[in-house]
């Protein structure tokens, strides 16, 4: 490696990491939090005995999973303004990613709720709980444990998907890389560097997932 390669690496690394810190990571965290709330609501709607309610959730999930995330993002940022709805790039990105995560995680949460043994509902009713209380105090905590591995995967996918936000000019990891690459002309090096940073973030998340699973192990009903 020659001197100029080293210089480029040194000078570009921090701006890319900065992109991760101010863009990628907050974007992923915000979207995942909102998406998760949405997912729990959708999962409960899917489990509702009222046909219309479960139908709405079903259509939502089908739509989100049946269309590309990039298209969803473009509809919100470039499409909605023609209806007079102008949303800034950051909130547009959060909105699109939340809607997307909500659709995917809803099925995970639903499956997790269904995986809790019927006897847990019965014990909750037996001690006098209402359906709502049984759900929040007895069923969801157990479902949460079951859904840690699949939700971790959803989150890791989301972290990588936030690179799409670069296409609506949100300052995040990949947008930073693009700018540096265009400026320096060394596309291979800078994009590999960006890939490396994504990889490091995902490795970190995987190890957090492992710790979390171990800690929550006792929550499983046998």
């Amino acid at each position: 490696m020659n001197q100029s390669t080293w210089d480029l690496l040194r000078s570009s690394f921090w701006p890319i990491v900065q992109g991760a810190l101010v863009g990628t990571i907050p974007l992923a965290l915000a979207s995942f939090s909102i998406g998760l709330v949405l997912a729990v609501a959708l999962a409960l709607m899917r489990l509702s005995k009222v046909r219309v309610v479960s139908g709405i959730a079903r259509v939502y999930i089908s739509l989100v999973r049946g269309t590309p995330l990039l298209v969803q993002l473009f509809v919100i940022f470039y499409g909605l303004p023609s209806l007079g709805v102008v949303i800034d790039k950051w909130p547009s990105a959060v909105l699109a990613f939340s809607i997307n995560v909500g659709g995917y995680a809803a099925e995970v949460v639903r499956a997790a709720i269904l995986s809790v043994p019927k006897g847990q509902w019965e014990a909750a009713y037996m001690i006098g709980m209402s359906r709502r209380r049984a759900l929040t105090r007895i069923i969801l905590p157990q479902a949460a444990r079951v859904s840690v591995p699949p939700l971790s995967n959803t989150f890791i996918s989301l972290v990588k998907d936030t690179s799409l936000a670069s296409l609506i000019l949100v300052t995040e990891l990949f947008r930073q890389a693009q700018e540096i690459a265009a400026f320096s002309g060394d596309f291979l090096l800078v994009y590999l560097e960006a890939a490396f940073v994504y990889w490091m973030i995902c490795l970190l998340l995987s190890s957090i997932q492992g710790v979390l699973e171990k800690r929550l192990d006792r929550y499983v009903a046998h």
Binding site: P117, G119, Q120, E122, A123, A124, Y125, M126, I127, G128, M129, S130, R131, R133, R137, I138, P141, Q142, R145, R218, Y219, V220, A221, H222
Partner: protein, 257 residues
């Protein structure tokens, strides 16, 4: 003969019916259990005895007949009762399950105080004190901070019984409480249940433990095909059953091969 004959019964069931799809599981059950009485339900699997037990606290919703527990207004099951009415019915009883159904994400102590504190809104310090006393009684004081998965089956079931007692119910329901236990662990649980019977708890127990029934039951009812075929004292039922079906069932239980 007993004072319970004079006072109104704790459980009063009329014409209770239940079907699963086209299968009739319970057919016009009439049942009366006095305060302080122990009723043991026996019968082959699929006979409807567990369904009958579960109808008493609304875990199973009957589709006909009435259930009255502890002098509350009789609940009419000709139409599905609203959740509030079912909750009121459940308030009066507590159930011990075959598979314990302890909450796996809560410690032993949290399992016990969940109902009294969160549902019944009783003061936490008072409930904790009672819970610890009950644990002490069943010999599980040192397990109070353990999680259910750390306990043996017999220990879990004793916690299940303590969880039921902590609710201060008027009626205790047992659904095959020892069927999932290893043989050497059954004694502890049955011993505890016997103590409760002696203390005067009203209990309805589904079990296959005939020796236990003989010692503890005031009355034994043989359920088969969704009806109560025969009922009487344990003595009558086991030594001189009048119905052929009862005789056959007891014979199979006593001489399995």
């Amino acid at each position: 003969m007993s004072p319970t004959e004079a006072s109104p019964p704790l459980i009063d069931v009329h014409g209770l019916s239940k079907s699963f799809g086209s299968t009739r599981v319970l057919e016009s059950i009439e049942l009366r259990v006095g305060r302080g009485e122990v009723l043991v339900l026996i019968g082959p699997s699929g006979s409807g005895k567990t369904t009958l037990l579960r109808c008493l606290n609304g875990l199973e919703i009957a589709d006909g007949g009435t259930v009255e527990v502890a002098g509350a207004r009789a609940i009419d099951f000709s139409s599905t009762p609203p959740p509030k009415v079912l909750a009121a019915l459940r308030d009066r009883s507590a159930m011990v399950f075959q598979h314990y159904n302890l909450f796996p994400h809560k410690t032993v102590l949290e399992n016990i105080v969940e109902g009294p504190v969160i549902v019944q809104k009783r003061p936490r310090p008072e409930v904790l004190e009672e819970a610890l006393a009950l644990l002490e009684r069943v010999g599980l004081s040192e397990k109070k901070d353990s999680y259910p998965f750390e306990l043996s089956g017999g220990q879990q079931q004793r916690v299940g019984i303590v969880r039921a007692l902590a609710l201060k119910p008027q009626l205790l329901l047992f659904d095959e409480p020892t069927s999932a236990l290893d043989p050497e662990l059954i004694g502890d649980v049955l011993g505890l249940m016997k103590e409760l019977a002696v203390e005067g708890w009203t209990m309805v127990i589904v079990t296959h433990e005939l020796q236990f029934a003989r010692e503890v039951a005031d009355e034994v009812a043989f359920v088969d095909g969704g009806v109560i075929v025969e009922r009487g004292t344990a003595q009558q039922m086991f030594s001189a059953p009048t119905q052929e079906r009862t005789r056959q069932f007891l014979h199979r239980l006593l001489f399995p091969f």
